[in-house]
Symmetry: C4
């Protein structure tokens, strides 16, 4: 009897915690979203020196409050999940654990000299923001287009890396230490800053030959931005196209969605009660 009641409670909690297609589940998700945002905000505020000096107590209190809530949420998820182990080792299960761990670690690992490391642990809690992606259901076409263009983009990025390696090395030989090109890795960093058109200006060529090579690199970078754009555009067009309805007769796409007849074979779009003139004519 108790086991059955337990099972009922478990299912109820499951509906609220894991599902978002019920009013209760939706409310739970919304509250959780705001709690995550506020907990990230508290990490941000703690990092600002002037705020840390004046309001440290309040921020720490808020952090423990958030940690407590997220811990309860984590335990509820484990309790209510039909397959607890699968949840624990799933992507979001691990993110949920990482979101609460750092706060508890500060209790055990403390003392003056470890403080900086501990701060790093605490900042990891920012990964709570990854939980936000749970609330995004709209990215399907985007991710489908990106996945199918992944292969071409890898080739493109490897070509870019080869190019910046060679040009970075050349610039190191041409410019030398005076202009800030102190080593090949730094010169490659400069080449990436340039080819991506970021251009900080902390390192910039001073010799005529260096400026000529830099100009060529910039024009290349300006031109080849077209490549990933072209790849993704084509894939995006394909993904959008494939998400369209197909004609029952000729398999051609029906466009626009409100069309009553197929633009390719002229047959009326499939609807059980509609007459199908050409078929009858045969």
């Amino acid at each position: 009897m108790k086991a059955r009641k337990d099972e009922e409670l478990r299912r109820k909690i499951y509906t609220v915690v894991f599902r978002s297609d019920t009013p209760a589940g939706r409310l739970f998700d919304l509250i959780l979203l705001w709690l995550i945002l506020f907990s990230i905000l508290s990490v941000f505020l703690e990092s600002v020196a002037s705020i840390r000096q004046n309001y440290l107590v309040y921020i720490r209190t808020a952090e423990w409050f958030f940690t407590a809530i997220f811990t309860i949420e984590y335990l509820l998820r484990i309790y209510s999940s039909p397959k607890p182990l699968r949840y624990v080792f799933s992507f979001y299960g691990l993110i949920d654990l990482i979101a609460v761990l750092p706060a508890y670690l500060t209790l055990f690992i403390s003392g003056g000299q470890y403080l900086v490391v501990v701060r790093a642990f605490r900042l990891l809690r920012v990964f709570r923001i990854l939980k936000l992606s749970r609330f995004l259901y709209e990215g399907n076409i985007l991710t489908s287009a990106l996945k199918s263009s992944m292969h071409k983009i890898t080739v493109f990025i490897m070509s870019v890396i080869t190019l910046v390696t060679i040009i970075g090395t050349l610039m190191y030989i041409i410019e030398g230490d005076e202009s800030g090109f102190t080593s090949i890795p730094v010169s490659i960093y400069w080449a990436i800053v340039t080819i991506t058109t970021v251009g900080y200006g902390d390192i910039s060529p001073q010799t005529p030959v260096g400026q000529l090579l830099a100009s060529i690199l910039m024009i290349i970078g300006y031109g080849i931005i077209a490549v990933p754009t072209g790849i993704v555009s084509v894939e995006m067009a394909r993904a959008t196209d494939e998400a369209k309805e197909k004609c029952r007769f000729c398999r051609g796409p029906i466009h626009p969605r409100t069309a009553r007849f197929c633009a390719n074979c002229g047959k009326e779009r499939a609807s059980a009660d509609a007459p199908q003139p050409l078929e009858q004519a045969d």
Copy 2:
């Protein structure tokens, strides 16, 4: 009798002030356009220190002149509008009010210590430029394409914000105060400056690990610019396509251009001179 004459005058003013499909209306709009541009120019000139010191009297006179004209225009719009209240609370009604208010506010709120605030009010008059958009009739396809891609672009921007938050936090841990990464919000600001390829260079990584992470962020930023571009290209193609040729029978758009049948009414596409073998075969 007088009411009828009033009504006639009102309609006449309405034609001139609100419509731009008559010669008088077009002239009114053109004069207004130039007045707006000159009034914005006077605000610009006042903000330049050397001009303010020498020509303040002239600029102030010009501003009151523009304010007077825009006030008369505002009152005429209220008077001549068939539904005055609807105009007053419409988007352009509010903009028209905001365009004249700041000048009058400077009369009441004055005195040494409030001057800066007052200056801010006066500068708000720059919003008169929004009136310019009333003169643009060409942006329909643009706004249609942008509206239908709004959803995907929101997902994209949220992903970018998540990314810059995580990388900004990591950079704050890696680089620290010496390189200018004084707090997490500042580090996120740097990450946005970098991923958008703006790259001011006021903050830039100094450690090898920081430069490596920055390089990765740049290449990501360089690559994902393709995403919004792809989205908008596809939507733009769709919006342009749908605005294309119309069907002879039902006035619906014919899509694609090579379609043989209208997708809306199922009739064969009109081309008098082309042979129509299939029709004859029936």
Copy 3:
């Protein structure tokens, strides 16, 4: 008799000077191209202080040599042109004149205090480079696509100008003189530097609110780069499409160029001797 000989000479010169579809005309164009490039190079070298001090005599001699040749070329063009006046006032006629004028002007307008102005005149000779465009015949699809997207791009650029005006003004109020935002025009200049993702870094926001607004402007700029790209992509696709061959029967495009049958109606592509099965079936 002499008139006829003159006419013959004129036509001969015309063929060499104006046409580039004969071996002589092509050689003339090629020599001219290299002369223009060398004359531009001499202007460049003169502007470099260290070279000017050491080799001024050689550079000046070279410049008079180029000026003499271009003058002869200009006179030959006037002499041989069938409608001399039309040539003189054509785009390239004016460019050809501007290319030789500055050198002669330095003879009349000389003297210590005018030197800088004279230098400006001489530098105008760089516009000879515009002559280069005469040698480009490949840009037809490009210019066609750009012309038909001109209207939408104008609307886009006006929207961008409105946006940078408003955000520039807001930044002037928020940041003030300390961060380099000394006047509204300078702030608008900064906004353009930011939204186009150039980001010099000579002016950059220092206050948190300013950095937030700048971040928003950057993300907007990063996003809306997609708009002109989308416009041009669509127009380019259209221009490429329209340059394709059409089917004789159904007016659909024939793709690829080597196709033997139309993909839409299945008829064999128009070639006088080929059988036309469907037509015969009727």
Copy 4:
């Protein structure tokens, strides 16, 4: 008998060294890839001053180890190649030679004053990275799209170069030495930095007229990035399209996807389950 054994060995080595469709060949390629990466890493490390001072002996040893292996590999390739001379003068043959030469050159050209030149020779070994491209088989569609858009992109880049030449010269006249525009070549360098939206900020306009011209250049640069993007997108769409579905009868590509007839052999596209009313009507 021995000759036949030699021939067998030669073919065996050929399979391992040149082919990558056998397990042994694939392993050889993988090991080579890692050796190249490590040898490049050793060049990088040597360029970092602090590492060079402490670990020079180890790095030099590693470099000789890599040089020995690459020399053996080069000799094996010459030995096993069916047409040795053709390999030696092929692109990869020359790269393979350049990859080992610099190390041997340091033996002959040595001495204090030549050290910098020698370092340059040694750094050339970085070109070994070009060997990496041998491992990329995925770039076919990319290179096909880039090749067919090469012509239009050349026109585009020449237009950009003309534009930066003219604007660079104008900026040199307007800004002068004080703002860093010390010569026309430097001003053109600035114009390229600006139009490609890199924007180092080492040179930036200070006068109002210069900032206005720079703003125009930035907006142009922001707008025309669309041109190469549009070109490549269209070509990429074409290249992807042509690689699509094949005809059941003639193995030619079916284009567009919605086509009812093959453009190559005119036969109706194969779809067994779809009703084929027109065929029956005949």
